[in-house]
Amino acid sequence: MTDATRLELSRALVVAGLILYVPANIMPVMIMTVAGEVAPLTVMGGVQELYDSGLAPVAAVVFVASIMIPFLKLIGLSWLMLMHGSDQLPRERTTLLRVLHQIGTWSMIDIFLLGVLVAVGQLGILASVEAQAGGLFFAAVLLCSLFAADLYQPRMIWQLASP
């Protein structure tokens, strides 16, 4: 795969991630039924729920991990895509790319968590958790950003920046 293809694919994936980010956050990722009460939860709704139940630190962690980081990752990738070919700040951009790459290792944790919840949280009539389309979108966002960050190599920053 040529660098040009990588670049093109990476750009396309970032755009797709940005598009998918919207429904991923609007749509409920799961429906929790606890003691008869049906609660469809979006990611943001989940954070709200945690915060409302007095678990502010957990809410903060979930917020950072599930909302901010995917978002910042997309923003960062978009910036890298836009800066491609420019010779400015190559060092910083390389660092950012490496950081994004590293974060990518953990990015699927939400989905993993969702899978565990759905699998474990089947307590019949008392409580149940069902995965919803939002989770799918969320996973798609994560996959897009993951592949985009992987396809875009640090050397591609340098190649064009120093002809």
Binding site: A4, E8, L9, A12, A16, G17, G36, V38, A39, P163
Partner: protein, 748 residues
Amino acid sequence: MNTNHPEPSEEDHGKVVAAPRVHRLWAWIFPALAAAAGAWLLWSNWTSKGPEIQVHFTEAPGIQSGKTVLIYRGVTSGNVTGVSLNKGMDGVLVTIRLKAFASDLASEGTDFWIDQPVISLQQTTGLDSIIQGNSIQARMGAGASTTTFKGLSRAPLTPLDSPSLEISLRAPSIPFLGRGAPVYHKGVAVGLVRNKKIDKSGGTSLQVIIDKEHAHLVLDTSRFWILPATSLQFSARGASLDIAGLAALIQGGIAFDAFAPDGKPVEDHADFELAPQEFSARADGPRFKITFENAQGLLAGETRITYLGQPVGYIETLQVDSQRKLVDATARLEASFSPLLTSDSKFTLIRPSVSLRGVSGLETLISGAMIALESEGQGEPALQFVGNVGTEGIPQDGGVIVDVQAENLPNLDAGAPVYHRGLVAGEVLEKRMGEGEIPILKIQIHQEFQAALRTNSRFWRVAATSVSAGPGMLEAKIQGLSALLDGGIAFDAFEEPGNPASGTDNFQLFDSETAARAISEPIRIAFKNGQGLLAGKTALRYLGLPVGLVDSIRTTNGRVEVTARVNSGYEFLRRKGSIFAIVQAQVSLQGLTGLETILSGVYIECIPGTGSFTDGLFLGQSSSEPELLEREGLEIRITSQKTAIRAGAPIIYRDMTVGEITKKTLSADGKEIELTAVIDRKYQSLLRTNSHFWDAGGVEASIGFIKLKVKSQTLIAPDGKVAFANPSDPGDPVKPGHVFLLSDKPLK
């Protein structure tokens, strides 16, 4: 990629050649897919959303924005998107986003209610909401589309279909029927009571909904009545317990039927009357009025009108007119009997009457008073009647009322029957104390017996139960069941009937029939010893038959003076020379006499004299030989030195008994025995001055002869016997008191 680029020169390596991008367009399939997915999502989300509606509730317990769902026929058809109080703070505004497939719910007539658990006797619903939380339920309406609704405060009775027929039933009061009570038609539940309400004018009514499929059964001639939850009825047939199904057991129900043949189906919201009972529902004829002077026992809505014994109507209302002192009863008959309401109709109030004259109207004791209708169905139709108050079979007016005085009235009371020759001729109306501390009974004699009551009629008490005993008889008399309890009064005239009695006549009450029969002027008799005599009990007898009664007993001048009365027709006993003798049982070696008096008590035997009538004092005898007194005939005397013959010995003439020795006494000088004998009247001509008397029964004489001259008579006649014979030339007939000599041997 190299093939597409112009071969770069060695030196030229800074030149960037824009690569043709056509070949890498496939990469953009990802954002395209993402956009498509997002777009589809948005589109499907948008299309799945129906209109947003607002429902006003008075309260919305457990309704949460974003969580509570709208359920229609068990399907989630919308979501609550907002819950807020309305401006006036007197209600809740719930905003619901309907789903697209349920957007038709946003039409007029749709009912929304909050489904919450209801656990009552009548029903248990909404249990699922205990677990799932409250939800909003909907029932589809059919009007034009709208977005604002007023929510119901309670779940409707028919959550699925709107009822096709709603009617209201008016009733003065609705005791126990409530929401959900079933409505039956011929035993089939066809509807429910929806609501119970009081309108502005204070009238109560029930809103009833009838199932769609049964709506055609409600006709404009239908009559509705209340089925009591459980009815326990006592009737002449016994007690019956009716339970109209389990649902009705607790809350009762309503039944309806059309009793009239023609009826048309009714419109929605029709008005009907609700009758308290089936029989009052059946009575759907025109209302009419009966006026009673006294309506005791009448019950509005209960009392039935019977015709030929069958209930055909009932009393609907009772109104007391205090000015006219009358009670106006509004009544209705079954329509088919309405032709009976004519000017000749008679209404009689029948109440239970357990008087001593008998028990009448007994069925009303259980069923309550009723009104009997008598009508020929002829005459002008009428709607206004005057009712009679009565007990069956007894004429109310007519008859005569008289006063009867008595010494004491032990157990007679108002209602006691008055008999005339065994028939009930009247009754005791009142028992009161008259002037001079004499109890008085006011007695009504019924019209048909009025003629039987004469000025000289005699009243006597009929004992409740009487036991009388005599020789060979023991009789227990019970004067019917009513008299058994209370006794009664009887009357009769024992002499020639006098003038018909009027209401001003006074009568005396005697203790017994015997006393009443003894109507003669008092006869006074003096006795040396009055043992066994009882005033009011001891009878006077003539030839063994009771003919009078001892009225009173007192002692004067060392004697017992008895005042007695004899029955009508026996005045001849009051003659000079009449004999009155106390007869009582004698048990002696000589025999038993007056044995019947052991049971019947002593009595006074009367033997009329031949003298003139007298009011003077008679001298009574104490006799143990009643036969003596009964003998009538020629009295002679027979003297003997010594004889075993005793009083009672027969006098034989040619083996025929013609008389009797009645007395055996010592002569005045003590030298001989004097036998008094009576020869029966028809045989007295046999007796001549030269008749020969001898002792014919001598036992010792018989034993002495070997010829076995022991005659059977000796055993039969232990007193011995006297025979006489006449010589061939009979002398003159004898006069009373003639003295004969008793010989030992017969005439040769």
